[in-house]
């Protein structure tokens, strides 16, 4: 069983249009390095100076990695990773 990674529309140019790709690794950093090997160019869109880019949110099993160790957050087979652009909204604003 691999790690499922959900790709936002804007980044599907790197994944031949695939919404979900599979990856592996024991941390988010390793997972992104593995994604880069399969989908060249995607890492630069996600990572800047060793952290997730400001307007990129990455979630491991629905939890934002900025509060769980950032790119060092552990991942394991069977986990779901979601990548999303930051948007306004919530609580019926």
């Amino acid at each position: 069983m691999a790690i499922q990674v959900r790709i936002p529309t804007i980044l599907r140019t790197y994944t031949d249009g695939d919404r979900v790709v599979e990856g592996s690794g024991s941390t988010v950093t390793e997972l992104i390095d593995q994604l880069e090997a399969d989908h060249t160019g995607i890492k630069e869109r996600l990572v800047e100076n060793g952290e997730a880019r400001r307007f990129v949110n990455i979630y491991v099993n629905d939890e934002d990695i900025r509060f769980t160790g950032n790119l060092g957050t552990p991942v394991a087979d069977g986990d779901t990773v979601v990548i999303l652009p930051a948007v306004a909204g919530g609580s019926g604003v």
């Binding site: 307007f55 900025r66 509060f67 909204g89 919530g90 019926g92």
Partner: protein
């Protein structure tokens, strides 16, 4: 309880225990019923605080026009206060919000300018900023960056919870303008720093994110990540599942965004249970379910509800 006028009755909402949904006698859930505010949502607090601050600073004068990007609740709250105090109000609202919200805004006296569905609230914010530039005499209170929004929760929501439940261990709220979490978060950091602040962020369908550029996303000016301890992203399926569970088991009929917040609160409760910790977890009921009946969230199967919510700004 007696008040001189409706706006004097904002805040002071009940905190109720959830004996059935609480996972154990040592891990307890509590709901802060913000639907008990005058227009039925937590946004009455921010709207009143922003208007009072703008009056104090001389930005608002009788006859002024208020402009605000809003998916509904803030606009309804602002309109309620504005009308009583003699202001005109214009709301910029994404067209993919529920029909009830449009009807209510109109009823309370707001004029509505629609912004395109694609892009959601980001687009409403962008459009409102354009309109503000065209009408320099209009006053944009701008809930995403107005400190009075967070201050309403620093002065109201946070202290009310601590007074009612001194043993509180976690505070869970939705992440939109971030005002609730920032204000209550700052209050707890100062007055009971052991309280963990948990954010529930709604995760929408593809249409809302669209082709949003990753280099030009949106983070509200109020947002300070140091005031938050964990952040959950909750999709429509879990939000609907939880909002139904809340009414079925505890009798609380809440809006869909509250389902997302409950989902995060239950995830936090499970963490505490697994760690063998006792906890008193307070979560916010933002509003009642009435405004969202037409979204289909409360009827049919979960699959059907999820399909209907796809593309809507459900929180």
């Amino acid at each position: 309880m007696r008040f001189d006028s409706l706006i004097d009755s904002v805040g002071g909402t009940p905190l109720v225990g959830l004996p059935i949904l609480s996972p154990s006698p040592d891990v307890r859930l509590w709901a802060k019923l913000e639907d008990h505010n005058p227009t039925g949502s937590i946004k009455d607090r921010a709207a009143l605080a922003m208007i009072l601050r703008a009056e104090k600073e001389g930005l608002l004068r009788p006859g002024s026009t208020i402009l605000e990007p809003t998916s509904g609740n803030t606009g309804i709250s602002l309109a309620m206060v504005a009308r009583q105090r003699g202001y005109r109000i214009v709301c910029v609202m994404p067209e993919n919000t529920s029909i009830e919200r449009t009807q209510l805004l109109t009823m309370w006296g707001a004029q509505i300018i629609s912004s395109p569905a694609a892009g959601g609230s980001n687009e409403a914010v962008r459009r409102a900023k354009e309109i503000a530039a065209e009408h320099p005499d209009w006053v944009m209170l701008y809930q995403y960056g107005n400190p009075a929004n967070a201050d309403a929760h620093y002065e109201g929501t946070g202290p009310e919870i601590l007074a009612d439940l001194p043993e509180v261990t976690h505070f869970v709220a939705g992440l939109g303008t971030t005002g609730t979490l920032m204000g209550a978060g700052r209050f707890f950091r100062e007055h009971k720093p052991s309280v963990r602040i948990v954010a529930a962020e709604p995760r929408y369908g593809e249409l809302v994110y669209g082709l949003r550029n990753l280099d030009e996303g949106f983070v509200p000016e109020l947002y300070d990540a140091s005031l938050i301890d964990s952040r959950f992203s909750v999709g429509p399926r879990d939000a609907v599942r939880r909002v139904r569970q809340l009414v079925e088991s505890e009798g609380i009929f809440a809006g869909v965004s509250t389902g997302a917040i409950l989902h995060a609160a239950l995830a936090q409760a499970k963490k505490c249970l697994d760690a063998g910790e006792s906890a008193d977890i307070v979560f916010v009921v933002c509003d009642g379910g009435w405004k969202y009946l037409s979204t289909g969230a409360y009827e049919g199967t979960l699959d059907e509800a999820e399909d209907k919510l796809d593309g809507q700004l459900w929180a």
